[in-house]
């Protein structure tokens, strides 16, 4: 996909005044947020943990793993001792799908990947916007080569955003695609043609909706949920396309570049998408985003461009104590923490950091033994409302990650949930006391 920078403008914005009241009217009142200081949310997932042997704090501190974040120390709340794991289910599958949902994956029905609505999607309900939420990552779709875990859908390895128990949201990998979705190109001469193309899309979606309705009428009642969720998807896309486009910001980033392989321009890819996400938030296109800096396992990502050739991420996370692997894992962790610093810089640039909560973390502490206690978790933002610049908790606390998520919801003025997660990962009802 080629873009011509001179012709590129950011569009959309003014049409939102038209779209938003419609949105507001379809959101149930109890799901909407009470006034809060934080009204945007970004969650960032990185796979395979950090160098935290046996779940000890290890390198997860500002001198080592977090060194690239040094200039944002005062914007970072370091949380220790949180856990998020379900015994007996392979953590690569479980903890990726469960990272933001704290709910076990449901293995009984291999036809459909099932987890539970994730934190970001609860927030998206309460903060409606033309683009419900942005999912970014998906550099490649990780598949267990041997697939020797019956019932474990590969979807669990590749998705953290769950709109409902049986519907995940798939991430976009290509900056050019994200650009198109956010900032439609404008070409004066072809405006009428573009308008026709948009209108065609709407007619097609409407037709598909009609097909699904008619099909549903023919089938037994038990097939309704599948077709209903299909129709919801159609409607969501209609709403996206219907949002009229008028410019809202200066020059957006140039999304061209080679992103054909997960290992090509890894850093550049995320930098571009950070920038676009921040702009989209600034423009009011969306309030919620999730990033996956790699799918669970991520063995196809080897960071050769950043740290030199070598084994893939998963391979060095299972370092087995081998020094070269440990060193490589540490270097990878720093590359990714460096990306977080870039994201924070973008948000700061657009003066969004005060209104936004950024959650950064992994589903494992020690990837070598798939340890799911004392997870590496950060909460970032700006403001004196939270204990930024501090460290809370300690390795042995064993508090569920869902306790943090209840606090996040509360910070965002959302009180419609009485608990978060389930089973071993159910929230305790006790706040982590993040507020100053």
């Amino acid at each position: 996909m080629k873009f011509n920078p001179e012709r590129r403008h950011i569009l959309r914005w003014m049409g939102l005044q038209l779209a938003l009241p419609v949105l507001a009217s379809v959101v149930p009142t109890d799901a909407r947020a009470a006034p809060a200081t934080r009204k945007r949310f970004i969650a960032v997932y990185f796979p395979n943990g950090s160098y935290m042997p046996q779940g000890a704090d290890g390198d997860w501190n500002f001198q080592e793993a977090l060194a690239p974040l040094d200039s944002y120390r005062q914007n970072t709340l370091l949380l220790r001792g949180l856990r998020n794991g379900f015994g007996g289910i392979d953590p690569h599958w479980q903890n990726c799908a469960g990272f933001l949902s704290c709910h076990p994956i449901q293995l009984g029905d291999p036809g459909v990947a099932r987890c539970a609505k994730s934190l970001d999607q609860h927030i998206a309900d309460a903060y409606p916007s033309p683009l419900r939420s942005l999912e970014i990552g998906g550099l490649y779709y990780h598949q267990h080569q041997l697939n020797d875990h019956p019932g474990y859908s590969h979807d669990y390895l590749n998705r953290i955003a769950w709109q409902s128990a049986d519907q995940y949201r798939s991430p976009v990998a290509d900056p050019a695609r994200l650009f198109e979705q956010l900032f439609t190109t404008q070409d004066e001469q072809a405006a009428a043609h573009l308008q026709f193309i948009r209108s065609r899309k709407m007619s097609i979606l409407d037709h598909l909706h009609g097909d699904a309705t008619r099909l549903a009428q023919r089938l037994p009642q038990s097939y309704r949920p599948v077709l209903d969720s299909y129709m919801q998807t159609v409607r969501e896309l209609e709403l996206q396309i219907a949002t009229p486009t008028v410019g809202c910001a200066d020059m957006p980033p140039d999304p061209s570049g080679d992103f054909s392989s997960p290992n090509t321009n890894y850093v550049q890819r995320f930098r571009l998408m950070h920038q676009m996400t921040a702009l989209a938030m600034r423009c009011g296109l969306t309030n919620v985003a999730t990033f996956m800096y790699g799918p669970s396992v991520s063995d196809d990502i080897n960071f050769a461009e950043e740290i030199g050739p070598g084994v893939g991420h998963h391979g060095c996370a299972h370092h087995g104590g081998t020094q070269s692997n440990v060193d490589r894992l540490k270097a990878i962790t720093q590359v990714q923490v460096g990306l977080l610093a870039d994201l924070l810089a973008r948000l700061k640039e657009l003066e969004l950091l005060q209104e936004t909560l950024v959650l950064y973390g992994s589903d494992m502490s020690d990837g070598n033994i798939h340890h799911t206690k004392n997870l590496p978790i950060l909460l970032c933002g700006e403001g004196s409302d939270l204990k930024f610049g501090q460290e809370l908790g300690s390795a042995g606390d064993g508090r569920p990650l869902s306790d943090l998520y209840m606090d996040v919801l509360s910070l965002m003025g959302i009180s419609s949930l009485s608990s978060f997660g389930s089973g071993e990962c159910l929230s305790t009802g006790q706040s982590l006391r993040l507020a100053v």
Binding site: L146, H154, S203, L227, T233
Partner: protein, 502 residues
């Protein structure tokens, strides 16, 4: 009951190619969300589609619509050629003289049954309203634009993207012939019916079980390559590329595929997959294995040997399972063989067992030979034996192959490789005795039939169907059906079980 399943991306690509009449390349599907595998196959997923994935499909449909309208076969009824450019003076194109014929032919094939009257009406009004909008936007060829809209809508219709023929009510009783045709086409061709099958579906001749059987055999012969890739390739992993671009791995992957093809095409039994008595290699792989290779001969040659070619002595299996630590290799190899070749399901690990596994990492003396380290797994007092009692005999017998899939008698630490564990009631000391034990077992034959039946049914066999696969694989007359025969009988049986055949 079968769910409302989604078409796999491969099936969609095949259908698009077959309906359009020329191959549609992979590059158009790169950004499609993969469809998850269920029971090892991606043809039976009911995963929901999200807005981004649907948006991606819209984009592809726009490209495919151009190909549809460029296809002479699909547009032959129209008085002039369809292009987005302004038409030259002549007969104006309309729904009646062009659109109806294109939509009827194209959508019927993609829907796997004739377009119904009300669907035709809806496509007509979609075409005509879009044509008006195109005219209002001053586009040069409003009819072309309107037809494009209708074609794009049909390309993504839930009637195409889902498989309504598998669920009650999805097809009408009068469309029963098309239902059978579609089942055959999905199974053997991963696509829609070809002309011959389509005609038979329409004429009612598929009511005759003999004709269905004839067609099944014809389809398998005619579309062997697709069946091999989508059934065999998913069952035995050679469809997706896991070579990482490594030339030797690519040669190995080809070996796995070529041996499977040979067994299928030559009417050999599935047992031959384990001990074919030959292998098919290129020069690189022959050199790796130390096999003779005629340098003046074909680039890929069939070599007679008892040492290579079997599923458990193929490099593609042996090397892919050998990544990670020493410990993982026998476990991965064992699990693969047990789940793929014997259809065994391992018990799910409970929390206590997971904790036990974690602890065991520290207890095991890593200086011992691997077989002795792994003995720890099988202590009767622990819960590990439930799985490792099965995994370790396979994994340790295969230790005679190193990470590269080469034969060895002594491991990296100088220990002799020996194992005396039992599987299927036999001591399986080495890869040969292991392959023989599996090959001779009814369990293996039944497992192959189970895979074929699962693929045909689009679901796992139900508890009360457990004996069905066994009957297919081990017939009462004592015969040993070929892989071909099993494919055909599994498909026919699935029609019966799904209550589609009469």
């Amino acid at each position: 009951m079968t769910k409302l399943l989604r078409l796999s991306n491969e099936e969609y690509q095949n259908i698009a190619s077959d309906v359009i009449g020329s191959p549609v390349g992979d590059e158009r599907f790169i950004a499609w969300t993969p469809v998850a595998e269920v029971y090892g196959f991606d043809t039976m997923s009911a995963t929901r589609i999200d807005a981004r994935a649907l948006d991606e499909q819209l984009r592809t449909a726009a490209e495919l619509a151009v190909l549809v309208l460029d296809s002479p076969e699909l547009t032959s009824a129209c008085p002039s050629r369809l292009t987005p450019a302004a038409p030259e003076d002549g007969v104006a194109l309309t729904w009646t003289n062009c659109g109806a014929a294109v939509m009827t032919r194209f959508a019927s094939r993609a829907f796997r049954r004739p377009l119904r009257p009300e669907e035709r009406t809806r496509y007509q009004s979609l075409l005509e309203s879009s044509q008006l909008e195109a005219a209002a936007a001053s586009l040069p060829h409003p009819f072309y634009e309107g037809l494009t809209t209708a074609v794009q809508a049909a390309l993504l219709s839930p009637h195409v993207m889902f498989k309504p023929e598998l669920v009650p009510g999805g097809f009408e009783p009068a469309e029963r012939g098309y239902r059978i045709a579609s089942k055959l086409a999905l199974f053997f061709r991963s696509s829609v019916a070809d002309d011959e099958l389509w005609e038979l579906a329409g004429s009612g001749e598929l009511d005759d079980p003999e004709i269905v059987e004839q067609q099944a055999r014809r389809m398998l012969a005619q579309y062997q390559e697709r069946f091999m890739t989508d059934f065999g390739g998913q069952w035995l992993d050679f469809r997706k590329d896991a070579t990482g671009g490594d030339p030797l791995m690519m040669s190995m992957k080809n070996e796995t595929r070529d041996v499977f093809r040979e067994v299928l095409a030559r009417g050999l039994t599935p047992q031959k997959l384990l001990q074919p008595g030959f292998t098919i290699v290129d020069q690189r792989l022959a050199a790796h294995y130390g096999l003779e290779f005629d340098l003046d001969g074909e680039p890929v040659q069939k070599v007679v040997t008892d040492e290579r070619g079997g599923l458990l002595s193929q490099g593609y299996f042996l090397r892919r399972t050998a990544t990670g630590s020493e410990f993982r290799r026998p476990i991965h190899r064992g699990l693969w063989a047990l789940t793929r070749l014997l259809c065994r399901e391992m018990p799910r690990l409970d929390a206590a067992t997971v904790a036990e596994i974690s602890e065991s990492f520290e207890k095991i003396d890593r200086t011992l030979p691997l077989s002795e380290q792994m003995e720890f797994h099988r202590e009767a007092s622990g819960s590990c034996i439930a799985c490792h009692g099965q995994i370790d005999p396979v994994g340790l017998a295969l230790e005679k192959y190193d990470r590269q899939g080469l034969w060895r008698e002594i491991d990296d630490n100088g220990h002799a490789i020996v194992s005396d564990l039992e599987l299927l009631g036999e001591v399986v000391a080495d890869p040969m005795t292991l392959a023989a034990a599996i090959e001779q077992s009814e369990e293996y034959r039944t497992c192959v039939a189970t895979k074929a039946l699962t693929y045909a049914l689009h679901r796992g066999p139900l508890a009360n169907e457990a004996c069905v696969a066994r009957e297919l694989a081990v017939p009462k007359d004592g015969s040993s059906p070929s892989l071909q025969e099993l494919a055909v009988t599994a498909l026919l049986k699935s029609l019966e079980l799904a209550d589609i055949a009469r």
